[in-house]
Symmetry: D2
Amino acid sequence: MFSTEVKKRVRYGETDKMGYLYYGKYANLYEIGRVEMLRDLDLPYVKIEDEMGIMLPVLSVEAKYLKPAYYDDELTIKSILREMPSKLIAVHVEIFNGKMELIHKALVKLFFIDMKTNKRISAPSVLTDKLKPFF
Amino acid sequence: MFSTEVKKRVRYGETDKMGYLYYGKYANLYEIGRVEMLRDLDLPYVKIEDEMGIMLPVLSVEAKYLKPAYYDDELTIKSILREMPSKLIAVHVEIFNGKMELIHKALVKLFFIDMKTNKRISAPSVLTDKLKPFF
Amino acid sequence: MFSTEVKKRVRYGETDKMGYLYYGKYANLYEIGRVEMLRDLDLPYVKIEDEMGIMLPVLSVEAKYLKPAYYDDELTIKSILREMPSKLIAVHVEIFNGKMELIHKALVKLFFIDMKTNKRISAPSVLTDKLKPFF
Amino acid sequence: MFSTEVKKRVRYGETDKMGYLYYGKYANLYEIGRVEMLRDLDLPYVKIEDEMGIMLPVLSVEAKYLKPAYYDDELTIKSILREMPSKLIAVHVEIFNGKMELIHKALVKLFFIDMKTNKRISAPSVLTDKLKPFF
């Protein structure tokens, strides 16, 4: 297992007239979480795209909204890999509010595209090598 | 069954550096779809909140990304109710690109909150009455 | 002078906890306005980028917020060219609410970049030719 | 004079198909800057709204886009008060890229609304008292 935590404050422009973090903004939180997880592995996503020519489009999202998040709350986004990536990378996301109550859960699956051929590939060894010690 | 279709063009600010409609923007499309579905039933969501004092927070989203959407594509958002709403309303969403290829599927479940008591309620009869002829 | 009008409804995800259209979303409205203005000239922006290899980054924005816009309001975005574009294109934007009250004014200046050389160029003749009858 | 700096990374969902930070996202950066400036004064904006019943809608924005910002750049948002707020608060914003090049300048003017009466008021003394030592 490998996991990373990152903090993110709810901004005014992310709230809606209910006073909640808009439900459509959680996908941006998943993105922040997984990008910081890759940075923790010393593999910034910007390098995966620009130097390795690989991009990771999203295949599916399953999300459960447990409690609302409010303006100015400092959320904790926890991104967890429970399995070694192969054809897919499955990121489990848990989001906690300022009181560390679990308010949201998601499972985001992404795949790997070789940007030269525009074809699906398996997880690159540079990623799986970094992850081996954790599995 | 009851369903509605609405068109929505992909705007520059909704694309990302891959050149695709950003994956996090699809939730905005589901919102447009279900709000126009309610308007088609002569029940604008703004009235449900302001006049009936009921709000519909999202409980869960399951989404499958089948093909990317591109800048300036005119998408068709189809919102489908397959079951009469009761404790929940389950909206099946199908999104088609300009060539009418299915590019995205989602299931969005919402619940009903009485804004005065802040408690969950069942689907209001004003909604279920409008839907009866279709089920 | 050349001008175009386009309608745009305020969506839930665009409101903030004040209940207003978030101030940061107006730039998206300017974009919709100017892109539809170009489409009215039979010059879709997607063709300017993809076929002519020209892009139009924004140089400056001056905006005045006169009245708030509310959820589900159907706004009218009026985009006006008061001068023939040359080194710049200056788009005057006027936004009206559902009662056709002026709620927002902006001036957006954009310039032209040749995407091959990455250098600034003047307004392409394909654009100025289309606009000549109006000036 | 009073000023604050805060860092903000450019996220994928904030880029557009040019590969730049979308021009419409800068308003979100101004918001982050001024909210963190208020927090530095020990006056979190959430308290101004919830405890003092005052809100600060935006009156005008003047923005100059000097250079693009790119994906994953860590931007520095500098928010500067050059004058003591009275009827207005004028926030000068300077945004720098990772190489500390100035890429964007803006002037954002906000006013003060008493949320009970919905009328304009002057800057509350709790704010001006905190700022006096700096002017």
